[in-house]
C-alpha cells in the first residue's frame, strides 16, 4: 500500500488526513509536535498510523525522523503544519516575533521537510508533495484581508512551491498547493463552511488524480484553480 507523511497531524486537517488515509489502508506517518500529549495521540490510534515527534521548526527533529524513515519510500508528503493568530495579525498590532514564527512554520518548515525527505519521495510510486496553503495567501486577497503574518507567510509558501515544482521536476516529483477552504478547525472556529471531513475528503479525491501536469499549481480543495 502507498504511504503518506503528514505534518501537524495531531488536530484539524492533519488529523483528518491521517484518519482518511489510514481508513483507505495507506501506511500513515503522522508528525505531531508533542508525543506526550495523550489527548492528541489518542485520536490517531490506528493500526496503519505511526506517530513521530516532529516540530517542523526543529530541524534536528526533522532530520532524525528522516533518518528513521531512510529506507522507506514516501508516496505523498503533506506539509500541513500551520497556525494563525487571529486579530493580533492586523495593521499596527502585529507581534513581530510571532510573525517570524509563522515564517518558520509555514515557510522554513515546508522547505526543511522537502529537503529532508526528497529522497524518500523520489523513491515512492506517486512522488507527490502537497503543501497546505490558504486562500489568504492569494495576492488577489480573495479572503483574509489584513492578516499580515499569515498572508505573507502563505504567499511566500506559494512562491517556494512553484520553485520546488521546477527544481524537483527532474526527479518526477509533483508539487501542488491547496487551499482547503474555510474549514471548522481549532484555527478557524466553528463558523466555517466545511467540516474537516468534507474538505479532506475532497482534497484526497483530487490528490488521487495528480500527476506531473499539475505540478506548480495552486488548487482549491475541490480542484478549481486559484490565482496567485
Amino acid at each position: 500500500m502507498p504511504s503518506v507523511l503528514i505534518t501537524g497531524a495531531s488536530r484539524g486537517l492533519g488529523r483528518e488526513f491521517a484518519r482518511q488515509y489510514a481508513s483507505a489502508g495507506w501506511t500513515v506517518h503522522a508528525g505531531v509536535r508533542n508525543l506526550r500529549q495523550r489527548s492528541a495521540i489518542k485520536e490517531l490510534q490506528h493500526d496503519q498510523i505511526t506517530c513521530h515527534e516532529l516540530d517542523v521548526t526543529q530541524h534536528d527533529q526533522i532530520l532524525s525522523v528522516a533518518a528513521e524513515l531512510a529506507e522507506e519510500p514516501i508516496d505523498l508528503l503533506i506539509n500541513n503544519a500551520g497556525f494563525w493568530l487571529g486579530k493580533d495579525e492586523h495593521y499596527g498590532r502585529c507581534d513581530e516575533r510571532q510573525w517570524m514564527e509563522e515564517f518558520q512554520v509555514h515557510l522554513f518548515g515546508t522547505m526543511a521537510m522537502c529537503e529532508a525527505f526528497v529522497d524518500q519521495v523520489t523513491a515512492g510510486d506517486r512522488k507527490l508533495i502537497v503543501n497546505i496553503s490558504s486562500g489568504n495567501g492569494s495576492l488577489t486577497l480573495e479572503s483574509g484581508i489584513g492578516d499580515y503574518p499569515y498572508n505573507t507567510s502563505k504567499a511566500a509558501l506559494n512562491l517556494i512551491s512553484k520553485g520546488l515544482a521546477a527544481d524537483l521536476k527532474q526527479r518526477g516529483i509533483t508539487v501542488v498547493c491547496f487551499t482547503p477552504g474555510f474549514v471548522a478547525t481549532d484555527m478557524s472556529g466553528p463558523d466555517a463552511d466545511l467540516s474537516p471531513h468534507e474538505s479532506v475528503n475532497a482534497m484526497c479525491a483530487i490528490i488521487d488524480t495528480l500527476g506531473p501536469e499539475q505540478t506548480g499549481t495552486f488548487l482549491r480543495y475541490n480542484g478549481e484553480s486559484v490565482p496567485w
Partner: protein, 233 residues
C-alpha cells in the same frame, strides 16, 4: 496652495537605486530624507548633502527602535512619498538542498517586515501630506506567476511576501487616502544586480519617478515595472 516643496523618505539611500532616487528628487527640488544603516560610511550620499534639502538619518529597517527614532525625528513633517527601498539579497546559499535558514530570517526581517514597520511608523506623516504615496521596491523575482526556474528561494520569497504587505497596506490605508504600490526597478547595474544588468540606476530611478508621479488611489495595491507596465503576481 502652499508652495512648500514636496518631501520624500528613501530607505537604503546610500547606494544603488536608493542613491539615484535621492539625487533625482533633490535635482527636482524635493526635500529628501535619506535613511541608511551607517551614515558615517555613506560617502556618496554625504557628497549630495551640500544641498540643504537633503537630510541623512541613521536607519536600520530590521531594528524597530531605529525606525521609532526616525519617526520621532520626522514627527512634525508631512511626507508626500515614502520609498521603502532598503533590501538585501540573501547571499549564496539559496538553492534546494543548501538553504541558509539564518540568512532567510535576516532577509525577511529587512525585505518584508522592514517596509511594514517603516510604513506603519510614518503613516500619519504620509496621511498629512498632499500626495500620500508609499512605494515598496519589490522585484519581478517576487512574481510567483513568472517564477519557472527554481532556486533563489530566499530573495524571491521575501519579495512575494513584500507584495503581500503591499496589497494589505493598500487595503488598510485606502480610507486615509494613501496609495501603496509595489515596483520592480528593472535589472539594474548595482552591487546586487551586477555589472552586466540591463539599465543604469539613473534610468531605473527616472522610470520609477515617472510611474510614481502618475499613480493614483486607483492604482493602489498594484505591482508595476519601472517602465510603467503592470506585472502579474
Amino acid at each position: 496652495m502652499t508652495n512648500k516643496r514636496p518631501s520624500v523618505v528613501i530607505t537604503g539611500a546610500n547606494r544603488g537605486i536608493g542613491l539615484a532616487l535621492v539625487s533625482q528628487y533633490l535635482a527636482d527640488g524635493w526635500q529628501v530624507y535619506g535613511g541608511c544603516r551607517q551614515p558615517e560610511l555613506a560617502t556618496q550620499l554625504a557628497g549630495l548633502a551640500s544641498n540643504s534639502a537633503l537630510s541623512i538619518h541613521q536607519l536600520d529597517v530590521s531594528n524597530p527602535d531605529s525606525i521609532k527614532k526616525l519617526a520621532l525625528a520626522l514627527s512634525e513633517q508631512s511626507i508626500d512619498l515614502l520609498i521603502n527601498n532598503a533590501g538585501i539579497n540573501g547571499g549564496e546559499r539559496q538553492s534546494f538542498g543548501d538553504i541558509d535558514y539564518a540568512q532567510w530570517t535576516r532577509v525577511l526581517e529587512v525585505n518584508t517586515l522592514g517596509p511594514y514597520r517603516v510604513s506603519t511608523a510614518l503613516a500619519n506623516q504620509v496621511e498629512n501630506s498632499e500626495q500620500r504615496l508609499m512605494v515598496n521596491v519589490s522585484s519581478a523575482m517576487g512574481s510567483i506567476e513568472q517564477y519557472t526556474t527554481g532556486g533563489h528561494y530566499i530573495y524571491r520569497s521575501s519579495k512575494a511576501a513584500l507584495n503581500m504587505v503591499t496589497v494589505n497596506l493598500a487595503h488598510d490605508l485606502r480610507s486615509r487616502g494613501i496609495t501603496v504600490l509595489s515596483v520592480h526597478p528593472g535589472w539594474v547595474r548595482t552591487d546586487m544586480g551586477g555589472a552586466s544588468a540591463d539599465i543604469s540606476t539613473q534610468t531605473s530611478a527616472a522610470g520609477l519617478r515617472q510611474l510614481i508621479s502618475n499613480a493614483t488611489l486607483e492604482d493602489s495595491g498594484r505591482f508595476f515595472s519601472w517602465d510603467g507596465s503592470v506585472l502579474p503576481w
